[in-house]
């Protein structure tokens, strides 16, 4: 039986590895000052306004700069491309811009770049992917070469948070000339790294920007090159880490992370993130599963899933159960009035019987990541007779299914683009936008109020009420937040942040 012994196998594999000098490649990388990083998803477009995958956000912050910067440790705002800002009135934000900043193509950064970028992406005709990131902007105006004003459609107190998050600034002349398509092929930003090679669907190579402006919130980058490769199979990524072919990967399964701690050449770092997980139901008239239109069925499902155990066993340390579709630290994420559905199969079965489905029904569950968690939910649902089949695919494909109302249940996750304000989470799914598949007019109204009222107390009150209705109606089952596990070569010094953003510009070799 020794053949099956894990320890034997592991010892043999590692023994061979030592003999072959496993550490050698990592050493070489250190000498070459290159981090080799792999990710499983390919961004449809590297232009940060035209993708909504995590790797897109990661690349965005290495290659581009935002007007404002939020310190991930203190949550304080600091100037990045802007140096100071003030609200002129409820809907007008004025910003002073930094001087002496150069884009990677040599162009000088001025007010024109801000005005063009914001006006371009705020125009719905240009189809920026995540409309909620930009649709609060009415227009941007140039005051002088280094001063701009942003006029919002409604009072929008969270504007600063967005300007510190997803909204990067493109060089106007270049962007005007090449558009999002050209920006994808040859990206040009002002950030600490510039793209020196982009092989679409295969790899992106970043090179340290030697002219990166000083005195900004991001330090001068130390690592010379970042090579980002797209490796679809996670197992292949792990194999690359084990064999010294990569220096950095993220989103490792918790179980595997636990096991990888035993490998001497690696370090495993984990951190709770802002990414929340929830089970979203299509409840409008044209829902593909009419059974879900009955609130009792939805409550039954909420009672049937043991969120606490899933968080503890499948997600790992740092994961907390949530009771509203927002991350607890976000401003306005007040779930105090929302009902809590405890794990109770008796109640769940009774509700199913009451709704007229004592024998359950068949349904599809759409999902795109954390497949084991989808499967665990499917197994929980089996206990109350709901026979769910998994439809697993890429995020973009699932999003299209959801938006076309072809997904009855979706295992969603949402990272809020790391924006620490509820306007970046709940409204995306419940304010009547593309991803809203319950479209409750009352909730839409409340969220609208929460997004636009200036008085913080009134904002919180509006959001709180919205969370209460969403909870009572169970438009979603809120689950928990995710934990990201990183594996890196032992010599790399880096920190994990709740926003799942590896900051290559502050990494260095030990």
């Amino acid at each position: 039986m020794t053949f099956f012994s894990t320890r034997w196998l592991f010892a043999a594999v590692l023994g061979l590895a030592m003999a072959a000098g496993l550490a050698a490649p990592a050493e070489a990388q250190k000498r070459q000052n290159t981090i080799r990083f792999a990710y499983d998803q390919v961004p449809e477009n590297v232009d940060p306004f035209f993708n909504n995958v995590r790797i897109g956000v990661i690349i965005a912050h290495q290659v581009w700069d935002t007007l404002i910067y939020r310190d991930p440790k203190t949550n304080e705002y600091r100037g990045q491309l802007a140096t100071a800002w003030r609200w002129i009135d409820e809907k007008t934000l004025e910003l002073d811009l930094r001087r002496g900043v150069k884009f990677h193509n040599g162009a000088e950064f001025t007010a024109d770049d801000v005005v063009f970028t914001l006006n371009f992406v705020a125009n719905p005709a240009n189809r920026s992917t995540t409309q909620s990131n930009v649709n609060w902007i009415d227009r941007a105006e140039k005051i002088d070469a280094h001063k701009v004003r942003i006029i919002t459609k409604r009072p929008f107190p969270a504007a600063i948070e967005y300007l510190a998050g997803p909204i990067v600034i493109h060089p106007a002349a270049y962007y005007q000339q090449v558009g999002p398509k050209g920006m994808n092929e040859k990206p040009v930003g002002s950030g600490p790294y510039r793209v020196v090679d982009h092989q679409i669907g295969r790899s992106i190579t970043l090179q340290r920007n030697p002219d990166y402006f000083r005195d900004g919130p991001k330090p001068q980058p130390q690592i010379e090159r970042i090579v980002i490769r797209f490796i679809p199979d996670r197992q292949t990524q792990v194999a690359e880490m084990l064999s010294g072919g990569l220096d950095f990967i993220m989103n490792i399964a918790p179980d595997q992370a636990q096991q990888m701690r035993a490998v001497p050449t690696l370090q495993i770092v984990s951190g709770g993130t802002m990414r929340i997980v929830f089970l979203n139901f299509a409840t409008t008239e044209n829902s593909p599963a009419p059974q879900l239109r009955d609130v009792r069925v939805r409550r039954a499902i909420a009672h049937a899933i043991d969120r606490q155990t899933m968080a503890r066993q499948l997600v790992g340390e740092g994961s907390q159960v949530i009771n509203a579709i927002c991350f607890p630290s976000q401003f306005g994420c007040d779930a105090s009035q929302a009902p809590v559905y405890d794990f109770d199969l008796g109640k769940a079965r009774a509700l199913m019987a009451e709704a007229g489905f004592p024998n359950g029904f068949d349904i599809e569950l759409h999902a795109y990541r954390e497949r084991n968690q989808s499967e665990a939910m499917i197994n929980y649902l089996r206990a109350i007779g709901i026979r769910a089949t998994l439809r697993f695919g890429q995020y973009a494909a699932m999003r299209d299914q959801v938006r076309a109302n072809r997904a009855a249940m979706a295992h969603q996750t949402w990272g809020s683009f790391s924006i620490n304000d509820t306007s970046a989470s709940t409204p995306v799914y419940y304010k009547g936008l593309d991803d809203d598949i319950s479209r409750d007019p009352k909730v839409i109204e409340l969220l609208e109020r929460g997004d636009t009222v200036t008085d913080p107390q009134q904002r919180i009150a509006a959001y709180r009420e919205a969370h209460r209705i969403i909870g009572e109606q169970v438009y979603s089952v809120p689950l928990y937040n995710l934990v990201t596990f990183y594996a890196a070569s032992r010599d790399l010094e880096f920190a994990a942040y709740p926003d799942e953003l590896p900051r290559f510009w502050e990494m260095r070799w030990k």
Binding site: E44, R127, Q235, A239, L242, G245, Q394, R399, R403
Partner: protein, 305 residues
Amino acid sequence: MFSYTLKRLALAALVALAVSALAFVLLRLSGDVAIAIAGEGARAEDIAAVRQQYGLDRPLVVQYFDWLGRTLTGDFGQSLYFRTPVFGLIADKIQTTLILALAAILFALALSIPLGVMAAVWQNSWIDRLCLWIAVAGQALPNFFFALCLIMVFSIGLGWLPVSGTDGWENFIMPTVALGYYVTPPFMRLVRAGMVEVLNADYIRTARAKGLPSSTVIIRHGLRNALVPVVALTAVQLGFLLGGSIVIETVFALDGLGYLAYQAIAQKDFPVIQAVLMLLSIGYVLLTLAADLVNAWIDPRIRVG
């Protein structure tokens, strides 16, 4: 020969046409292409506009011929996901897949010819059985499992080979083995059968009786004849490998057509799927056409049959 060639060409052309129609219809089964093209968040009027702009409101047959016409001129349309011309995407990957398929075939031949010859020479002995087992054993495992085992031993364990990527020839070694091994058995059986037949033929017996050294006999006289049908099989298997490398390319993150097709399927990127499907099918048709013509040229009996 001329009329056979003509007939065979006609069949190939018909098959190519049928395949293109299938590829076209297959992907229309999935629902409204207009919604996919219009993209996320499109309103009803956007979709209607797309339908008209792309001519999706015309009869299916008209659309097919229109699409076929454009495809024949090398215009495969736009990728729905990457929003770039499909032609560029494919042209970029085709080389990788071709190298992999050719290398895999060569590996399969290098493995199966000696095994087949040995099996035939020591027919029905334990050597015969062993040779068959070597060729067949690995087939009992799903090939992604086999591939991961290769990674485990040669990359993680011994550190000899890179796990994934498309940078150099080292990247192709494990994929070649993993893919090539899977087409070894048919070659091995064919070589063995051919050799058995040849070895029993009168002229070989005569040659042996004349006292020619048996290795000379086997290689000079036997193998040459036994290899004729192998040529045809090579062409067929090459076509098969071009389409069969999806799994292997995904495991080793080899940036070829199979990997592209897998991504395209996951993203429901129909123009790309259609184009890859067409390309692989037509490739197969051309390869088998070539094989048949070569065969007919070698063996005149086929032309009549």
